[in-house]
Subunit: 223 residues, 2 copies
DNA sequence: GGGTGTGAAGTTGTTCACAGCT
DNA sequence: AGCTGTGAACAACTTCACACCC
């Protein structure tokens, strides 16, 4: 809802969630000098089915050539544009515990169009300390320009997550990646994605328990 | 498919993915001395709709009381049992870079039934070094008992992920949480979940770009 | 031949709305 | 009266299969 204004073309959420994966594969191919790829090869490398891949790409338009495949460069650009990644996004990480520091140093961001530009923590003992090339600031030191897009990453302890989110939103952040297990209560207009590590493990635990091979591989006694 | 043996009751994947969230909320309620909760309150705290919550819980059986709500303790136990979390799971983290170290120290695991028991890295310069109470070992030092369930967490650089996964599986691991962006090629019998941080950011970028308020909200003079 | 693009069918997940129990 | 449990309607997503084009 709230979808009042024009929503360009309507790309399903499930598709949007896979576009970054395709993009990564395409860039790897491009780096290896490949310039045409079939839906089968691409799907394989991305871990999806080829029919699904073709359907996903069809939402962007027709960028493939029948009997041949997709132009790697062209498709790459198209997805980049669709995801809005032509210009770099700035990232602000809140919470400089272990996880926050690890994220601050994470190499994968820069290579995919994200620049970590602020490290925020309200603990006065931490402000001023450098992590990599950046100094930790408190929220007063976080003043993004009104026209720049900043993605906020919450890596605080659970009880501080809501306050961190509110502070980010108050300063114009409209997209948040939340590592705290606490669900955030925010305006509809703010996009939130959650990564809860313990939840992921629990989901795996469920499947593990369900596919346990034998009931109890005890004993081997004859008798 | 491959669904040869009995699959107890059939709980939808989407429901399984939410059970851990409910469980966390229930435990928090329990800690605050609450002993009955309605689907509305629980749904609210978990960030879902009440009808959906009730449907989810209905897959576990009928543990609510009409006109009253759910017994917090009872439901907690039921979900715990269903997820297979009665006994602790052991976790092995592979790749002791920034992310691996952060995960090794992550407090959220222990409180949710997971014990990090192995820290693995094949770099000889790292083996023997302690991170918290555990020493880093190489794969030769990873010898879980045949009957214990271990969840493997891959926090290596992308190019090492497949080899790490293969090594885990060769030692009996059947559940893997993969932080590397590389998709893993593994037998069907191994459950894999992927957490790709850059992908999450890119999905947010898409939404951000799409909901940008005005073309250019300039002016207003600060100084 | 080879591989894309896409309606149609099938599957899975969500929401509604109300019967039924306490 | 209040709140759960659930069939039934609905919506989203996936897979199939084949027409169509190079």
């Amino acid at each position: 809802m709230t979808n009042t204004s024009a929503s360009r073309r309507d790309i399903p959420d499930a598709t949007v969630a896979r576009l970054p994966v395709y993009l990564r594969v395409l860039r790897a191919l491009s780096g290896r000098g490949v310039d045409v790829v079939s839906s089968n090869e691409l799907a394989d490398a991305a871990g999806v089915r080829s029919a699904g891949l073709r359907k996903d790409l069809s939402y962007l338009g027709s960028y493939g050539v029948r009997g041949v495949g997709y132009d790697v460069e062209r498709l790459s650009e198209e997805i980049t544009r669709e995801l809005g990644l032509q210009s770099d996004f700035a990232v602000a990480i809140v919470g400089m515990g272990n996880l926050g520091r690890a994220l601050a140093d994470y190499r994968g961001f820069a290579t995919r169009g994200f620049e970590v530009r602020w490290l925020i923590d309200n603990d006065p003992a931490l402000t001023g300390i450098h992590v990599g090339a950046l100094a930790i600031v408190d929220f007063d030191g976080f003043r993004p320009a009104a026209d720049e897009s900043v993605i906020g990453v919450i890596a605080t302890p659970p009880h501080a997550a809501q306050a961190a989110a509110d502070a980010l939103v108050a300063r114009g952040v409209r997209s948040i990646l939340n590592f705290a297990s606490e669900p955030l209560d925010l305006p509809e207009s703010v996009a939130v994605r959650k990564v809860d590590l313990a939840t992921e493990l629990q989901i795996l635990a469920f499947h593990d328990q369900r596919t346990r091979p034998e009931p109890a591989p005890l004993v081997e006694v004859p008798s």
